[in-house]
């Protein structure tokens, strides 16, 4: 098989799931004729027609609401938000209507919300967001944030087949920058399983999405200095694979968490709390975090570079931690 991009992997998953199950439909802004702002839905209209590839007015609340209503009749809508930043415009429908539906009255909401996210492409304060923690803090939603084409395709299939609302973050920096050959047959990557991308014994680096790649680069740098970092790619944030993290820390006794999201209230804190509960006596150094600044995402390249965690920041923090 020819290697395909991250974007193409997602597109394949949509095609194959829509082929497999007529209950799967796509809904969002500019997804039909145009194929979506990033062309992830390109070709779906031609194959599946107007009834299954639905353009909407610019109204994220209506989109999420309608998808929720569709799911109540057994459909499995896949929503595209043009950029994840616009999720703020449907925050209420998502966190109050959708997330609480099953708990409150036993009405599951099988839907997927796909959203291009993340920085590094000079998108500025409204096109670079990583709002995953808002939703990790909202019981009732599942959250996927893949880093490879293989995972993206397999996790998308799992998300569509899941009977719960799943937020599927697509890091736009990865869309066309990485390629991977995919299996010819149908496969699924189950939600809730992290992946050890590199084995190591000196410390654990936990990350996901674009930062998983930077963390791997950092591990390669560190190896040159004789520091062996174990690198975990979370892949799914909810349910969080606590076991893989805890087991790694029990081995390495040190952990560095890297996220592109802003610092305060980011996932590093949650992992720190979990490790205190489950592996306190195994910690030989402070739980450490390398994160974005606590600011909006600035526009100008030197500012955004300062804002985002850099390879050098990870290497430096890991080195300090290893020496602790």
């Amino acid at each position: 098989m020819e290697p395909v991009t991250f974007l193409e992997a997602i597109r394949q998953a949509l095609f194959e799931e829509m082929d497999r199950d007529p209950a799967v439909i796509c809904i969002g802004e500019d997804i039909s004729v145009y194929g979506g702002a990033f062309k992830v839905t390109a070709g779906l209209l031609e194959r599946f027609g107007w009834e299954r590839v639905i353009d909407t007015p610019i109204s994220e609340t209506a989109i999420i609401g309608a998808a929720c209503g569709m799911s109540y009749l057994g459909l499995r809508p896949v929503v595209e938000l043009q950029f994840v930043d616009f999720i703020a415009c449907c925050f209420n429908q998502l966190t109050n209507f959708v997330a609480k539906s099953n708990y409150r009255w036993g009405a599951p909401v099988p839907m997927v919300v796909r959203a291009p996210s993340g920085g590094g492409v000079h998108g500025g304060p409204f096109h670079s967001g990583n709002p995953e923690m808002y939703f990790m803090h909202t019981p009732g939603l599942k959250i996927v944030y893949p880093s490879t084409p293989y995972d993206a395709k397999g996790l998308m299939k799992a998300a569509i087949r899941d009977n719960n609302p799943v937020l599927f973050f697509e890091h736009k920096f990865l869309y066309r920058r990485i390629k991977e050959a995919l299996p010819a047959e149908d496969y699924v990557v189950p939600l809730g399983q992290a992946m050890v991308r590199r084995k190591g014994s000196d410390l654990t680096i936990v990350s996901y999405a674009a930062m998983a790649h930077t963390s791997l680069e950092a591990a390669a740098e560190l190896a040159k200095e004789g520091i062996e970092a174990e690198v975990i790619d979370l892949r799914t944030l909810v349910p969080l694979d606590q076991e893989t993290i805890v087991n790694s820390v029990k081995k390495t006794n040190k952990i560095l968490i890297v996220h592109e999201d802003t610092r305060t209230g980011g996932i590093a804190g949650e992992i720190a709390a979990i490790l205190n509960e489950q592996a306190f006596e195994h910690l030989d150094g402070p739980i450490t975090r390398v994160t974005a600044l606590d600011t909006p995402v600035p526009y100008s390249p030197p500012l955004e570079e300062r804002f985002l965690p850099q390879l050098a920041d990870i290497v430096r923090a890991a080195r300090d931690l290893a020496r602790f």
């Binding site: 974007l7 193409e8 597109r11 095609f15 194959e16 829509m18 007529p22 209950a23 004729v33 194929g35 979506g36 702002a37 990033f38 062309k39 992830v40 070709g43 209209l45 031609e46 194959r47 599946f48 027609g49 107007w50 009834e51 299954r52 639905i54 909407t56 007015p57 109204s59 609340t61 209506a62 989109i63 609401g65 309608a66 998808a67 929720c68 209503g69 569709m70 109540y72 009749l73 057994g74 459909l75 043009q82 950029f83 209420n92 429908q93 109050n96 209507f97 609480k100 099953n102 708990y103 409150r104 009255w105 036993g106 009405a107 599951p108 096109h127 019981p139 599942k142 009977n163 719960n164």
Partner: protein, 429 residues
């Protein structure tokens, strides 16, 4: 949904036109109501009021958990609109639509147990008041507190029903105050542009909590909200149950015929405070008297009497039936246990199978044609603007959803042809 609750007996109670169609007369397009229909409407209004009166007593006895909202004076709206729905249709009530729930087939006990937060309630105590639903049998979607949010959801229900080939209509309600929310706008606009079979009942009861309509909407008739969406609308005396029913029936028929959503403004008056704790001292002198004289139940009684549609015996039979119902269900509710604390931890996620698999009423092949190929292009005849735009409001649905289908060669997914499209232009914002 929830595992079958053995504590909840069958409903509905015997009715005039028994057995089929959810225990009430099968409604037809005929404008004049039958005697049975008139009596049904009266029965449900009286039941609605009796259920709420019982709850006021429960409230005074401190047996209601949380707030208690009243629809006193608005019963004709809840009952008359819901009565226009068929069993297959979907609805989503708001807080003052107890009457609609009863009409659709919810037994009073569900309403009592919900308000008393008992384990035997539809939500088992997880949520209260009218915050419950039933996907499988009654086709009721639970509201949430945030006003307006049901409108996009019910638009989605309507769209899904159409997609599955079910000839259903979705109905929901909104207050004068709730019509100012963004969700109202986005939901009704999407319904309009999709020509979804949605009936939206705007219950103008003069007040949003303590705020009069004039501070919320600078319109004399709130039905004019519909004009922003090219949506058909109607205004009806919300205290005349037969008029409400007929208006709703016409709206439902229109929707079912594929002519797009309808907004109905029902003018009425909230005869109590916002909720039980609110004495409504802000309501100007005379307003309550004015509307009291137009009480929908008394009006209905007078109508039935004047038109000789009932006699004293029928009336007392109806009320005896209502009293019996209320008594039994109150007893049931009061004897019901509170939920076990552990329940709090369960059910955030759906672990099992879906409670409602899609019910196809059209050939599945139609939506996944093996060789389907649509031309991805917008059509134009008048270059000044887009043809679809000019044609759509009046155009039949089929034309809208399929107008661009051409018999081109099929394309398969992850292979060559679609790749070309993906490559055609690089997507950026």
């Amino acid at each position: 949904m929830f595992p079958k609750n053995t504590l909840r007996p069958a409903w509905p109670p015997p009715m005039h036109n028994t057995a089929k169609n959810n225990g009430r007369a099968k409604v037809t397009a005929s404008p004049a109501l039958t005697r049975e229909q008139h009596l049904d409407l009266y029965f449900f209004m009286a039941l609605n009021r009796a259920v709420e009166e019982a709850m006021v007593r429960l409230f005074r006895q401190n047996k209601i958990v949380g707030g208690l909202y009243s629809s006193l004076g608005q019963e004709a709206v809840s009952v008359g609109t819901a009565y226009a729905l068929e069993k297959r249709d979907w609805m989503a009530p708001m807080i003052r639509n107890i009457g609609s729930l009863l009409v659709k087939g919810v037994p009073p006990r569900d309403i009592f147990t919900q308000h008393m937060a008992r384990y035997t309630s539809p939500t088992k105590g997880k949520d209260g008041t009218s915050h419950f639903g039933d996907l499988k049998n009654l086709h009721i979607v639970s509201p949430i507190s945030m006003l307006g949010d049901l409108i996009p959801v019910m638009t989605g229900v309507a769209m899904a029903g159409r997609y599955l080939g079910q000839k259903i209509v979705a109905m929901t309600w909104i207050g004068d105050g709730g019509s100012s929310t963004g969700a109202f706008h986005e939901g009704l606009n999407l319904a309009a542009v999709q020509r979804a079979p949605l009936v939206l009942v705007l219950e103008n009861n003069q007040w949003a909590y303590s705020t009069p309509v004039s501070r919320q909407v600078p319109l004399r008739d709130l039905a004019d909200r519909a004009r922003a969406y090219g949506v058909h609308s109607a205004i009806v005396d919300g205290n005349d149950v037969a008029a409400v029913y007929q208006t709703a029936k016409a709206a439902v028929d229109r929707c079912r015929a594929g002519q797009g959503p309808v907004l109905i403004e029902a003018k009425t008056m909230r005869m109590r405070g916002h909720a039980q704790h609110d004495p409504a001292e802000y309501v100007p002198q005379g307003m309550f008297e004015y509307w009291k004289a137009r009480d929908p139940i008394e009006r209905c009684e007078k109508f039935l009497t004047a038109n000789k549609l009932w006699d004293a015996k029928t009336k007392s039979e109806i009320h005896a039936r209502i009293d019996g119902l209320i008594k039994a269900d109150l007893e049931f509710a009061e004897n019901s246990p509170l939920p076990p604390p552990e329940l709090a931890e369960q059910g955030v996620y759906c672990e099992g199978p879906l409670c409602l698999e899609p019910r196809w009423e059209r050939p599945i092949a139609e939506v996944t044609p093996p060789g389907c190929s649509v031309q991805a292009a917008w059509k134009v005849s008048d270059p000044g603007s887009i043809e679809a735009g000019q044609a759509m409001p009046g155009a039949p649905l089929a034309k809208f959803t399929r107008m661009e289908k051409t018999p081109a060669a099929p394309r398969s997914p992850a292979k060559g042809s679609t790749k070309k499209i993906a490559a055609r232009s690089k997507g950026r914002r």
